[in-house]
């Protein structure tokens, strides 16, 4: 009877262990399915025109997304210029300056801000930029993306600064360096690898966002007039092409999808494997 019970327990053990392994394999295999589809369909559709030509009107075969690629770089670049320094400095404050009153609150709010749906952040940029200027603009999109970027960079900067050993700070302070000098010349350089990783991952994340751009940066079939005008972007272009009824546009959506995922995954792999070897990156 005892042994019967033991056999039962051991078989439950074996079954459940295999089930969890199966679940993991299932989850991870979706990654390969996604990549496989994108490489197969996107690879067939990708050509030089995609990188060099402008989009054509519906019904005409061919054309590319040169303006959307440049537009994405513009929007994300400006967002990074605003969001990275702001997030970095906020992270330095949370990690280095003791503040029992505000720091926990700021930390909590940063996490909440990080969890706000990106489309709602788009609404904020719409009320702040699109309404007063009466035009969709790449800048409005950049502002929406930077609002998403700041809490990510803040939390990651804080995390990596905290991993810098206290003895380094004490050493610098004992040599007579002031606090800000210690932070600037000892602590930040020591945590720089991790911080840079966090920044790359943050930028990669916002580069793939389309929801906050739909009614801020909007879209543009042409080169547009810079950041103050409606600006095309790769993610929005994928959306518009994918839901259209034209086969040639679907083809282009796949090509754009392949380019976008290539950039995002490359940034992720570079940041996680090369730059941050052994550094554990927290989920943003």
């Amino acid at each position: 009877m005892m042994s019967g019970n033991l056999i039962w327990r051991k078989s439950v053990n074996a079954v459940m262990l295999s089930v969890t392994a199966l679940f993991t394999v299932l989850t991870v295999s979706t990654l390969f399915l996604i990549l496989g589809y994108l490489v197969y369909y996107g690879g067939r559709s990708l050509d030089w025109n995609f990188f060099t030509k402008l989009p054509l009107p519906p019904g005409e075969i061919g054309g590319g997304m040169a303006n959307a690629i440049v537009g994405s770089v513009e929007i994300v670049g400006v967002a990074a210029l605003m969001g990275l320094p702001a997030g970095f400095l906020a992270g330095v404050y949370l990690a280095e300056f003791e503040d029992k009153m505000f720091a926990p609150l700021i930390r909590y709010i940063a996490d909440l801000l990080n969890g706000i749906p990106s489309i709602v952040v788009g609404l904020l940029a719409w009320t702040l930029v699109v309404v007063p200027t009466r035009t969709f603009s790449g800048l409005a999109g950049s502002i929406a993306l930077s609002v998403m970027l700041i809490p990510i960079v803040t939390r990651q900067t804080e995390q990596f600064l905290r991993e810098v050993p206290l003895s380094l700070r004490e050493g610098a302070l004992a040599l007579g360096a002031s606090k800000w000098k210690t932070i600037a010349t000892v602590v930040v350089p020591a945590g720089s690898k991790g911080i840079l990783t966090g920044m790359i991952l943050g930028v990669a994340r916002i580069a793939g966002e389309s929801a906050p751009l739909l009614f801020t940066a909007f879209n543009n079939q042409f080169w547009g007039g810079g950041i103050t005008q409606p600006t095309a972007s790769l993610p929005v272009m994928i959306y518009i092409r994918a839901i259209s009824p034209y086969d040639d546009w679907h083809r282009q959506a796949w090509a754009a999808g392949l380019v976008l995922i290539g950039m995002v995954l490359l940034a992720n792999i570079a940041a996680r494997l090369v730059l941050a070897r052994g550094v554990s990156v927290p989920r943003a």
Binding site: R9, V12, N13, L17, V19, T20, A21, F23, T24, L26, T27, V28, L31, I34, Y37, A86, G87, L89, A90, V92, Y93, F97, D99, I106, Y108, I109, A110, L112, L113, G115, I116, P117, I119, V121, L123, L124, W126, T127, L128, T154, S178, K179, K181, A207, G208, E209, S210, A211, P235, Y239, A242, A253, W254, G257, I261, V264, L265, N268, R272, R283
Partner: protein
């Protein structure tokens, strides 16, 4: 003679150092505080911009289901219904899948395999939502139309949940796509909660003769349950606010139907579809009010999730 001069320069240096510290503190504090500011600004702006709709419809906005831009009558019920149904469907699939995977990665897999798989899960989380939408639109939708929904109809068709024509687009497909998208979040947060469980807990259970699974299920998982619950809430908040993929497969029809095969609409999807072309003060503000509803929904759920996650990781690290 030289002593006072030396003291003087030291004093000056000290004073500049202190001013430097104060300036550095103020500057970094300003940016840290801007996070709170932006969040308040967001609430404030959405509150202001939704004023016409809030005044016209009051609380009825939350409980009525007309959505008519021509007569300017708006109610949010069908969108809330679609948002909640798809998210709950997503969790029904992603919670067992995510928790199982997290258990495998933290408790059972050898370190090398676990690290490699965790890396792949993180890549999965990094895939942009529009890419999920693209794939869902061209692969999941046709598969559901020709195989998934007919199969469910023939086996579980007696339930009102699985009735009606198989369109491929609809609540069920949206829920399935959302489940794939929320799994990585559930895995990474619950894995961290499981890893924070002290080793002694496992060793004690194993020493008492428990099998690996019994140790995990009866000792480790209960110990980390708050963090796991937090990960589920976090996944729920992500699912509620997910826009692109849902917009592309949910069918975009503001109706409340019992069948999961029927097309529906979610708050995020209606914003994505209608906001840039909306005209008229009431129409625009009704859409903003939907955004406000979504904001409060996700912030409350996120608030709970964060408190739970902090509680477990603290509990673990104290030992």
């Amino acid at each position: 003679m030289a002593t006072p001069a030396v003291l003087g320069t030291t004093a000056i240096r000290q004073r500049t150092a202190q001013t430097g510290d104060i300036v550095a503190r103020l500057i970094t504090f300003a940016f840290a505080a801007s996070i709170i500011l932006v969040t308040f600004l967001l609430v404030w702006q959405l509150w202001l911009s939704s004023a016409p709709s809030r005044h016209k419809f009051g609380f009825a906005f939350l409980f009525t289901s007309t959505w008519n831009p021509v007569t300017e009558e708006f109610g949010s019920l069908p969108f809330m219904y679609g948002t909640v149904v798809t998210s709950v469907l997503a969790l029904l699939i992603s919670v067992p899948l995510g928790l199982g995977s997290a258990i495998f990665l933290s408790e059972l897999a050898p370190a090398g395999i676990s690290n490699a798989l965790t890396f792949l899960v993180e890549l999965l989380a990094a895939i942009p939502s529009v890419i999920y939408g693209l794939l869902a639109l061209f692969t999941v939708v046709p598969l559901m139309r020709s195989y998934g929904e007919p199969f469910l109809k023939s086996t579980l068709g007696f339930l009102p949940l699985f009735k009606g024509p198989s369109l491929g687009f609809g609540l069920l497909t949206a829920g399935m796509v959302l489940s794939i998208m929320t799994v990585p979040f559930i895995i990474s947060v619950s894995r961290e909660a499981l890893l924070a469980v002290p080793r002694e807990q496992r060793e004690a259970a194993l020493a008492l003769g428990a099998t690996r699974w019994e140790t995990t299920w009866r000792v480790v998982v209960p110990y980390a349950k708050l963090g796991i619950l937090g990960s589920i809430f976090l996944g729920l908040a992500r699912a509620l606010g997910e826009t692109m993929a849902v917009t592309m497969v949910i069918g975009n029809d503001p109706k409340i139907s019992a069948s999961l095969f029927a097309p529906g609409y979610s708050i995020a999807a209606v914003l994505a579809n209608e906001f840039s072309e909306a005209s008229g003060e009431v129409y625009v503000s009704a859409l903003v009010e939907l955004g406000l509803v979504l904001f409060f929904l996700t912030i409350v759920i996120n608030g709970f999730a964060r408190v739970m996650i902090v509680a477990t990781t603290r509990k673990g690290s104290k030992r």
